[in-house]
């Protein structure tokens, strides 16, 4: 499934909801893909999957009809290109701290003349149709992450980057960079103000604001703030929380 489905939700004014997948399993990715999300993020930065399993997960998610997005370990053009060639509908690069970082994401995700992506869409070309070369740039979501104080302070400059489609806020690391221990929903007033101010500024610049949320309550608060794509918790978290809850209900 190409990221056009995600762009369509946005152009229709909607809010897209996905989740992070951290396990190393296409079966897990596929089960999550049938749970009702619009997209899933295969987390190659912190997840347990290696590159080959990530490709299997991208295939499973796309085969289930939703948009597979890969968060790459670093803002590296070769890695980004491989994931797009293997069928990722979108890329999230971590640590977008400067406008140079943002331009690097765009350069790695778009073919010339917009960018410098190299030709060879081994899987993407299968579903992309005979005119994939001409239309690929529209079929991909290029996103960075605002997850450090540096990144937040450079936000407006970052947002001048052409073809940067979206930005995802990482609240745990953002809080960490302000001197707090990681928390799903930071309570440091500086971090809270940052989180509150991002949606309008990003949206105005044409980059869809998104954020990772620990639970539905936080997600609802973020949607109300104007976030347009939500990464709603994590595969392993759903599983372990459910197991602990069931164990807690036992009478033995």
């Amino acid at each position: 499934m190409h990221a056009r489905a995600l762009k369509k939700i946005w152009s229709d004014g909607g809010t897209a909801v996905g989740a992070m997948v951290m396990a190393d399993s296409a079966m897990i990715a596929e089960a999550m893909a049938h749970a009702g999300f619009d997209f899933l993020i295969v987390d190659r930065q912190h997840g347990a999957m290696d590159e080959g399993t990530a490709v299997d997960m991208v295939r499973a998610i796309g085969g289930a009809g939703i948009v597979p997005i890969v968060r790459v370990p670093s803002n590296d053009a070769a890695t980004i290109g491989r994931m797009l060639d293997c069928g990722a509908g979108g890329i999230i690069a971590p640590l977008t701290d400067t406008p140079e970082d943002a331009r690097a994401i765009v350069a790695a995700t778009r073919y010339p003349p917009d960018g410098k992506r190299s030709w060879g869409p081994v899987r993407a070309g299968l579903t992309g149709g005979p005119d994939y070369a001409a239309r690929a740039n529209e079929a991909v979501v290029a996103s960075g992450m605002i997850e450090t104080r540096d990144g937040y302070e450079a936000l407006d400059e970052i947002l001048t980057t052409p073809n940067l489609n979206a930005l995802l806020v990482g609240p745990n690391d953002l809080g960490f960079s302000y001197g707090n221990l990681p928390k799903p929903m930071p309570d440091d007033p500086q971090v809270v103000r940052a989180i509150e101010s991002i949606p309008a500024r990003a949206a105005k610049a044409g980059a869809m604001p998104g954020i990772h949320c620990g639970d539905a309550a936080m997600a609802n608060r973020m949607i109300a703030l104007g976030y347009r794509w939500i990464s709603l918790a994590v595969d392993l978290g759903y599983m372990v929380d459910g197991a602990r809850d069931a164990l807690g209900r036992l009478e033995r």
Copy 2:
């Protein structure tokens, strides 16, 4: 972790609680192993993992300090032996329909003279200590499954099998064999009566009665009936239920 920990719970009069793991991922198995269960069942009958991944999962579960049990695809001595060699603390063979089936499980899980397990404990020997050959038979749980009408009707004969440590009831398939569609908790009176009658008969014969349960409510009911080991739902179920619940709480 050897199955002695499980046998200890039983000899202390306790009830052990585990879960089925169906995903193809050591990470998933390990996360489940840290959730609070006493054992986990790597489901090679219906799960998505292949043999190699099952071994990785057994390693992950044992490394987390709980008992890894493997449900093998069929009651086959070679397969059972491989899983024990690779460190499974216990084996559940499906479709124990006759006393011959039960004797085959025991023969495959125990070294001579009790059984016919072949020597070569490639992983089990690492943690089993220098006297593994002498003590292995005590370190393994051999279990069958009562999951067909045939098996239930042969229960007392099956229970005459020496060294059959346990039996697990499969309610979905048991109901199916009585002509009902599969249900986590069957409501066909014949099936309910079967489920109610098994614990006392099995326990009396020295085989620990266990049952797979769809949720904590059913588990509590089964514990009250005398079941001493509970397979409490499934990794994928916890995850998908949690994800759907979170999605259902969104306001967008």
Copy 3:
């Protein structure tokens, strides 16, 4: 993709065309799935893929919208059940030499009361919808293989088996069993007569006749004989033949 698509081609009077996939690669399976076939056969009998890779290939083929069929290594209920649970739309069991063999295939592929398939559709349940238990028996193709003299001579008895959906002829092994070296298109008159007589007899009994063909010329001849599903050559064969042809055109 469920095998309903394949049954639809047949009920519409059409002929389905697929191919064997022998490489150990989901990428290969997916590329073949985009080449224009109606189905693909993941060959676990002679192919290079192990069980886990076969599941990845089934996922890739189904995700590309065509029917994934698995030829299992042997007529074994546990193996057949695992492949169906993991999403195979159909099963081909080798060496259907007796009516007992044929009944075993049906028993392994259908839920009670038609058969003895065990409940636990880990992947198949994701796409199968909430009523999968009730409808699964219709969503699966159960096929045997006629590939020995014994099997051919028992054909009419084999064809009395209820719910045997199809039969695939294996010309190489059929010829071998008559004392000839394997050939894509046998020329031994006895084997040729066998191949000519099967379609009408199978179709009359309600089992779709199919055959593996080495090339399009043989396929056309077989379609003219009444074969309704064609396994048209092999992934590795297409690749190596193409490479050799290109090398042969070089001037150096």
Copy 4:
């Protein structure tokens, strides 16, 4: 590398020396293959490798120029056929207890009319040349194992099996079946007598006698008894013994 190299050693009157490989790694198999052995046994009965890794190991061993033999988990025709198709130069089936067992090994390893191997040499055909179908039966070593009292007592009957190329003695399990704990070199007089009597009887019947040995001392003793192929210890054993020895020499 075809097993012809092994048969050549035997027909030249030599003794072949190999080892068991139990780790799940093509790198390990390849390093062992460069250590000086004539063949290696990929141990799918007790080793840690799954089927797919076994194929990688067979490829690595053959690529290094020595004969890859696979000990299959059980005497199962489908499994044996798969390993031969994937390039095994020889097969060892465990638990040859009866002449029927021995005939099953031969049937599974040889094409008609000698046996019932099914056609489809996906890897073996690459190196086997254009006349592989005609010559494959000569290119494969079919071996059973004498590792139980039953097997030993049926030895002469077993040795009447045409085309049974070899037999490997498993001293650990043979001792176990006589009521002793497993030992690399059994000291039970009955077992010792069995081990002493096998070489002449097997050689006379045309089946090369072989035996697994724990170390070079035992191997020399067995060679002196007339054993013509020696499985000289195990990859993991060499490694762990070496590591322990080095640790024991430390002064700290």
Copy 5:
């Protein structure tokens, strides 16, 4: 197989012909290796294989007796070193745009004092013989790619790099960088002139000129221009083209 075989073809005045392998499969690589090529390029830049599978493919290609070359995802010394340690006979680094890029390739592929490759030839040392450290620099082919306008314009500077053994032209990306959509054989006159001018300049500087070709017709044209190594199409292309051709010949 060391790259000496490739250097031998060149020193004998010949033209070497290989192909790109993009699937994630040692079986595919091995089948291609038996098709008649002098070398194969495992394409880690655009192919579907991960690093581990690339090593399996290198092993399969080398075991079949031809030269395994790896195109790495980026011009990164650690990645290049790993592939050489694991047995690659040659390296192609993408995007050789500057002489610094070219020197980086050489530094990563050669041991001191010529370069900075780090010691640890885990696989390469097995076949490299006891004097591998002394002879490794001669046993490896170091190649860059001319695939951008920048690279072409810096060609003569790039060619001053000592020990740069070869250069491969990537026509698709080269065309892309001149503003054209990717085409196997570019028709933009600037690109055509570039392609025509490279062989003589590279050969004069001692770097063997090579180019990727879509088919034999283009290859013949390129050989006539003086290209000395040809990457003749792609595994997946041969396969899919063959399948489509066969499907197109069906009459149904």
Copy 6:
């Protein structure tokens, strides 16, 4: 197992002994972990394992109760972070040639404010307890390598880096950089002097000096020089040396 166990050995004044693991196998890693070492180094720089297998090996080593350390392919923050998230107890980055290199290692291994490690301990969080974020910096060993002349000449500057826990000397590459072919124990006087001078200088600066040794004799010499952690040879070396020794004792 966290690296606290390793730090405890050091704070108690002891010397820790481990080994390099280069094979691609969790089974190998686990067998080595039971051989008596305090830690093992999964060698992702020169070893045969890919990233996913490295994680399996880390799990196996930790599950066996000793400290898993990963030598990463290069001094790259994303790679280091992934290995720590997946449970590595320590990191060795190659090629510590400058103080900037050393600071990069520390930044990648420690959470803010000490470093820039990103939050997401997918496996490390399972065993790390509820306060992992607060205590992780103490639970990890950050080490560089002195393996070039540049690195040695910058040693004192490198040692000013806060929180650099250790340094490992690589004698093969160190000798190479001085113009000698690699040798387990260099004999170039300059290199010998370097190796002799490092322990006192490193220990004084609070970075534990370590070195890779080819055998116990060298290790004893190095321990006497003040080295506090020893990488005692390599898995493959133990295995192959043992096999060759056994083969050399045969009389045939």
